[in-house]
Subunit: 296 residues, 2 copies
């Protein structure tokens, strides 16, 4: 199976798991607009790249997909909540996401805030459930890792710095730090979640952390290149926003060519970090190549 087909099969499995979790969690009781908004926010497309990383990394350790899927779904709930809140008028003020109206446009602002809160909370509910993993040590380690990756010292902290950067000059080191928090931390956790599930040894975790860090940075540089070069129709959200706002990005600081070179270099680093797994890590290597080449 080629990489695209593999990613697509994973996407379908993750979508089905998220739908199942949202359905089974719904005791019929309350708040149907909230449940609708949570479904809209999570089931409206998206590559499911983070879930793919969870599942493929867990697979390196022989963990079956079915066991990794709830954790993959929890990570995607966090990613989707962050998109819903980042799109709000008080934040990035975006009307379009994955080619559809953003949640606060399709519903309203209050519902979007609550749907984000509820998805964030739901991720931890999934991780806390005994049937997600029978070992409470694993569940607890996943909770701690996800909270650290997505909280004030991770993704939320990165979004704060990113908002500040709109009104203050930032150098390359600053952009790297912002992106390692805003985007990198959750990508890194997605990989490490697979290692936690698979009970990876310290040396294995270190190698995967190297892979994940290179991948996360590559992901963001590719995103900046897309913003600079892509078309709205292809990307599914507004493009050229960074240049229009005068915001510092890898592309604005390094230029397009140097950014592409950096992207290639990071792809190489990510691929190299996986050498111990030989051909078994091919899907994760493909993921690094995919990031480097992605156009949407």
């Amino acid at each position: 199976m080629d990489f695209r087909s593999k990613l697509d099969a994973c996407r379908q499995a993750v979508d089905a798991k998220i739908a199942e979790l949202l359905d089974s969690g719904n005791t019929g009781a309350p708040a149907s607009p909230l449940a609708d908004a949570m479904r809209y926010a999570t089931l409206g497309g998206g590559k499911r790249f983070r879930p793919f990383l969870v599942i493929e990394t867990a697979g390196l350790f022989g963990v079956p997909q079915a066991k990794a899927l709830p954790i993959a779904a929890a990570v995607e709930c966090i990613h989707c909540y962050s998109l819903v809140h980042d799109d709000l008028p008080a934040m990035d003020d975006d009307d379009l996401r994955r080619g559809r109206p953003t949640v606060h446009k399709a519903f309203d602002e209050a519902t979007a805030i609550l749907a984000g809160d509820a998805l964030l909370t739901f991720a931890f509910e999934i991780l806390g459930r005994p049937n997600t993993d029978p070992d409470p040590v694993i569940r607890s380690e996943l909770v701690l890792g996800l909270a650290q990756a997505s909280g004030w010292q991770g993704m939320a902290g990165g979004q704060m710095l990113d908002l500040i950067a709109e009104h203050a000059p930032v150098d390359l080191q600053g952009v790297t730090r912002i992106q390692s928090l805003k985007t990198g931390a959750l990508i890194e956790f997605s990989v490490m979640a697979g290692a936690i599930l698979g009970r990876g040894a310290p040396a294995e975790r270190q190698a995967l952390a190297r892979y994940a860090r290179a991948l996360g940075l590559a992901f963001q540089i590719a995103d900046d290149l897309l913003d600079a070069e892509g078309e709205t129709a292809q990307v599914g959200k507004a493009t050229s926003k960074d240049a229009a706002s005068g915001k510092a990005t890898f592309v604005s600081l390094l230029g397009i060519e140097a950014s592409k070179n950096k992207l290639k270099e990071l792809e190489g680093e990510a691929v190299d970090a996986l050498h111990a797994w030989e051909s078994r890590a091919e899907a994760l290597r493909e993921a690094a190549r995919f990031v480097s080449l992605r156009r949407s």
Copy 2:
């Protein structure tokens, strides 16, 4: 020590623990306005009634206060995040909270949204830490309980229904359901968290759940009475908002006298549920009387 002094001593211990957790969690890295807003949102007063319930219930089982404090702090982080988000312009649009400007007034809307997100996430980070409780079964049970109490089937779901109720007629059953989710669920979890920490037996947990449900409902009826009868200066937030907005509350549906009678009845139910603990549960009984009499 009388109840007020006991509550006050607890408040000081909880404030110190939250400050310690926010300081020690701060690796010096990012996002100082975010950290500032998190401190502002959590350390600006408040009775710490939910933490008091965690600590006193845990105490019924001989759990020392120091062991219950991190869990108490996590519950308070959830409560504070909900206040920050509920106060936002798109939600209840309040400028005043605990006698001070709300977070989006003292900072800005984006920072308030992120501070709420970060506090919500931080609560789970605290619960996931091995030093919070060495038993991962306990940690995991606390994570699941807190997520259920505060998510779409709990507090967030209740806030959604409450927003809808501003534009739709709601009867007494509807108001009871909204409040049991919006306010009751987290109060109930605060009590149950003490029972989880204390490894309470099923019969003990059932008795405490009865106590907590009566207490949670009493708390909300008292809140409605405060809104109807209190003065802004005393309450620390805007009052008479419900009547001005024509929103259904216990007071608008039952009238003031019947609401006060219901409050007394619930106080009695709460007190009765604790009979097995005899004098050891006196502080929790006092808490029920305090709720029934509270004027701020």
